[in-house]
């Protein structure tokens, strides 16, 4: 299965209101090219933190579906976040880990998932009940459709082919992305006072 195919299926299954947090690198680049939209937040750094940003967003915006587009190298940097997600258990969080078993953005050195490490099992061990690994597109499509229509949190580990990075990130102004995203994410908050 190729990363582009996973992304293409994913964006075809979401609605305008759904929010996406995407890690820096090819995932963000491909998402941008495939379907740039107000509800996409492209990270440029923040190594490992996509799952945490998605958690905070899912709690703050409970009426929106929040989709985290993460990588194996990225989540391996922040495994504690899976325990925090399990403790908080936001029903609107879908954590998609695109697992190419490699640090593709920095030359392709293998990650631990190339050897013994099973991220879906780690997520389950952390306490996230809905965690599974998918290896084919049809399987991904079924699992993602279930994830987006049932209460989460869900973790979907998608095994994809290695495709070494060539991109340098989209040239979008980051502050524009932040402002556009926040306008889309906004839920009515009558308690927020002006300062």
């Amino acid at each position: 299965m190729k990363r582009e195919q996973v992304l293409a299926h994913l964006v075809s299954r979401i609605s305008e209101d759904d929010l996406i947090i995407a890690i820096f690198g090819d995932l963000s680049d491909q998402l941008y090219r495939l379907a740039d939209r107000a509800g996409n937040f492209y990270l440029r750094g923040a190594m490992g933190l996509a799952s945490s940003i998605g958690l905070g967003l899912a709690i703050a915006a409970p009426k929106k579906k929040v989709i985290v587009l993460d990588g194996d190298g990225s989540i391996l940097m922040n495994l504690g976040s899976l325990a925090t997600v399990a403790s908080e258990s936001p029903t609107n969080l879908i954590h998609v880990i695109v697992d190419n078993q490699s640090h593709a953005a920095v030359g392709g050195f293998p990650t631990a998932t190339a050897y013994e490490t099973d991220l879906a099992l780690i997520a389950k061990g952390a306490g996230i009940r809905s965690a599974q690994t998918v290896r084919a597109l049809g399987e991904f499509d079924r699992a993602f459709r279930r994830a987006i229509s049932t209460a989460g949190p869900h973790v979907l580990v998608c095994k994809v082919d290695l495709d070494l990075s060539s991109g340098k990130g989209q040239a979008t102004r980051l502050v524009y992305v932040t402002e556009r995203f926040m306008a889309r994410a906004k839920e009515h908050n009558p308690n927020l006072r002006d300062i």
């Binding site: 990270l43 923040a46 933190l49 905070g56 967003l57 703050a60 992305v177 994410a185």
Partner: protein, 165 residues
């Protein structure tokens, strides 16, 4: 008033309702007070850097946020503060208990504690250290206003001497 009452008042006045925390002995009364108060949504995280991420996500979802931690944890946050908050203009109020200063018993906390102000200066994060309760309230109010204006992370550093024994 106690330190935690002053801080809670300022956070409420400034609509800072989303709080991420990492346990700390000095800040325990504050964390307990906020956890027991329905105004606040509190999230306990495993590591300070993770907390920066959770708070940033909540900000993107429309909340004003605070991150409550020890000064030692700031060392875990530097990449997140620079490559997430500063670059995307995502503010967060950091409420930090200072380790490594007067009466410190753990040598491991000294170097980072004594370097805290310099670390914040180096990455361009405003940092304020109140020396009494009146300043604490004014500075916390001011820090909330400043983070909204500047869209920067802002730190309030609490010395052990602020807390009555």
């Amino acid at each position: 008033m106690t330190v935690h009452e002053v801080i809670v008042n300022s956070l409420k006045k400034g609509s800072v309702s989303f709080v991420v925390h990492i346990p700390d002995k000095l800040l325990l009364p504050l964390i307990k007070a906020m956890s027991d108060d329905s105004f606040f949504r509190c999230v306990l995280v495993t590591r300070e850097e993770e907390g920066v991420g959770v708070a940033a996500g909540a900000y993107l979802g429309g909340k004003r946020t605070a991150l409550v931690m020890q000064s030692t944890g700031v060392g875990n946050c530097l990449n997140a503060l620079t490559s997430l908050n500063i670059v995307h203009q995502i503010p967060v109020l950091m409420i930090i208990s200072l380790r490594g200063s007067l009466f410190e018993y753990n040598p491991a906390d000294v170097r980072l504690g004594l370097s805290l102000q310099k670390l914040f200066d180096a990455i361009g994060v405003p940092c304020f250290s109140p020396t009494n309760q009146e300043q604490l309230g004014r500075m916390t109010d001011g820090a909330i206003a400043l983070m909204e204006t500047s869209k920067l992370p802002v730190a309030i550093v609490l010395d052990r001497l602020l807390f009555s024994e």
